[in-house]
Symmetry: C2
Subunit: 345 residues, 2 copies
DNA sequence: ATGATGGCTGTAAACGATTACACAGCTTGA
DNA sequence: TCAAGCTGTGTAATCGTTTACAGCCATCAT
């Protein structure tokens, strides 16, 4: 039995191919500047000993790691699934790795993210968090200004001037409200996301504006908010059933909230859409599978993921001016069965 | 304006603290062997220039990267959310990074995973894929036998003898079938996962065994299979409604399938649980929110993630014999509202 | 013949950490 | 007074690449 062999290095390849390490390296990174015959010899050598470049050594020398850091508020939330999927696909296409971190609230500050850069673990950041470092993102470590390539996804740190890829939240909500109004609703409530969240502000603005446009007055009692998740919807349902003057339709800031809301309503004997219409936001995969299927506003998950990843990698590869781009994708109404027309009376 | 400063290295720290780089390194990795006073000076220096060790250099020297590779069949599938979440939490606790890859079927062979090791990108693998390299996992690259620390999660490569963490699939299905039988059902169908999948075999075995135990004969027409996902459920629903001799209950190999099935049924005017009882498998977060809430078999997602990650990191840190462990977690019935008792007639 | 040119390759110095080894100074015991 | 044994620290080699620089050879114009 052969002793545990060390994994082959570029030196081994060089020796076998009878060339210098420099040449091997060139074959790998700039094949066209080496003579065809030599190149072939090197390739053969690589093949026979099964050489793979050592990433650590490469990164050390190049001062790049070809890794993108994805910072999510909550991996578990199914909204992120398709987006992360798209990011991962886009990244591997360009030979980047994807490092994932959960930005749990407990974790003190944003400096934990910073260390991913100062320690050379990642070259760029895809940040799904608007409240985050609303402080000063381009942060300081010790006495140095450390700024690393970041693109905001979905949520935008206002005023930070970072490149951003997100949906037209305000417009999306307007589409939702318009739809409800078109169906005859004028008593429209809202179950919102967490108050401190940027999305809440943006969607809230859309909500207010649409209502105003239709000459409808917002009612405080009809709006509640909470974290993105089922629970918020269920709690909203509890509140709802105790209202003696109920809205006929409710807009939810997220599909998960909507689904929790409908589920909560149902367990208390209130039916959607018979007793109340509900419209969500996001169009997560489950939205089409609920009973009844959820009417909602679609965000373009795949594009959100793809565009943000590409933007970031472009920045990293120096393919673009560092001009901060700001792309906002349109939302779209997906009409299913949780909104029912109301007869004027 | 100060020119772009280079990020500080251990050398800078050494210079400022007036010690050698060796000492700085020791302060970082073996603090107790350096005199308290020196240690303090070093810490101060680190503080003032904001030094963070360069991971690439560390990895190169140590030949470890403190990174775990997580290979999922499909990030988008919500079943994985909570598991990956647990993995990530467990890993950061022990200062490991988490690298995620999607094992899409297109991607030729498993050797793509191998390169993560030969290139020193990851130290260990959390593999969610039983069919994978059923060939020979401890694979060969070039002429070398390359074996890297791997633990199978959820799905088990049979005969590979890898450390494994999974649920008692067979037992779980038996619990499901027993439940249905207890409720009076004896005409029990199944919507299975993909035929080539290990889970399919295991769950199929549980299904057959439970039926046999109850003296029930399985009927070919009542079993269909397909990929894990809604679509399989919907297609099963199409088949179902065309049956002129229908089962009264259906076991689905996954919640997503069950939800698609119910949704498909509903859109064709068949009600669950009025017309047919359905029981799922997994207890994904959505299961509790569907209308009606889904009766299902719970897998312990968090533990699956935590245990597998810990097992792997133990292996990596040399904390355990390389004896292949095989932990199987029990499943549990979660009774909700998609199973209705049937009256004997 | 000479010098210029250009294509291809080799030499060796980085990159930033870890660590075996050596050594200085101090204590201790004979 | 000296050998031995500790502590605590420094020196320098090493990990596996990349790349600036230099050099060699052939070709070609003069």
């Amino acid at each position: 039995m052969p002793a545990t062999q060390k994994t082959p290095t570029i030196q081994d390849v060089a020796r076998i191919a009878g060339v210098s390490t420099a040449t091997v390296s060139r074959v790998l990174s700039a094949p066209d500047i080496v003579r065809a015959r030599t190149r072939e010899r090197v390739h053969d050598a690589i093949e026979t000993i099964g050489f793979t470049p050592n990433i650590a050594a490469q990164s050390l020398r190049r001062r790049k790691v070809r890794t993108v850091l994805v910072a999510l508020p909550n991996i578990g939330n199914s909204f992120f699934g398709p987006i992360v999927d798209a990011i991962e696909r886009t990244c591997v296409e360009r030979d980047y790795d994807v490092l994932i971190v959960n930005r749990r609230p407990e974790s003190e500050d944003d400096s934990s993210l910073l260390t991913y850069f100062s320690s050379n673990r990642a070259d760029g950041l895809l940040l799904f968090d608007g409240n985050a470092a609303q402080s000063n993102w381009t942060a300081r470590v010790g006495n140095r200004e450390l700024l690393f390539p970041t693109v905001n996804v979905c949520e935008c740190i206002e005023g930070a001037g970072l490149p951003t890829v997100l949906s037209d939240n305000e417009g999306g909500v307007e589409i939702a409200i318009d739809h409800l109004v078109t169906k005859g609703h004028r008593r429209i409530g809202r179950v919102a996301g967490p108050v401190e969240n940027v999305l809440n502000r943006q969607r809230g603005a859309g909500y207010s504006r649409a209502l105003k446009r239709h000459g409808i007055e917002a009612r405080g009692l009809w709006s509640v908010s909470g974290p993105f998740g089922f629970q918020t919807g269920r709690e909203a349902a509890d509140r709802f059933v105790e209202l003696n003057d109920r809205p006929t339709a409710v807009f939810c800031d997220a599909d998960e909230i909507a689904i929790g809301f409908i589920s909560g309503l149902r367990s208390r004997g209130v039916s959607c859409p018979d007793d109340v219409s509900v419209i969500g936001f996001d169009d997560i995969p489950f939205a089409a599978q609920t009973s009844p299927p959820l009417t909602t506003i679609r965000q373009r998950h795949k594009e959100l993921g793809r565009l943000s990843a590409e933007l970031l990698m472009d920045m990293l590869d120096g393919r673009m001016k560092e001009v901060a781009s700001h792309v906002v994708l349109p939302c779209e109404l997906v009409e299913r069965q949780t909104v029912r027309p109301i007869s004027e009376d």
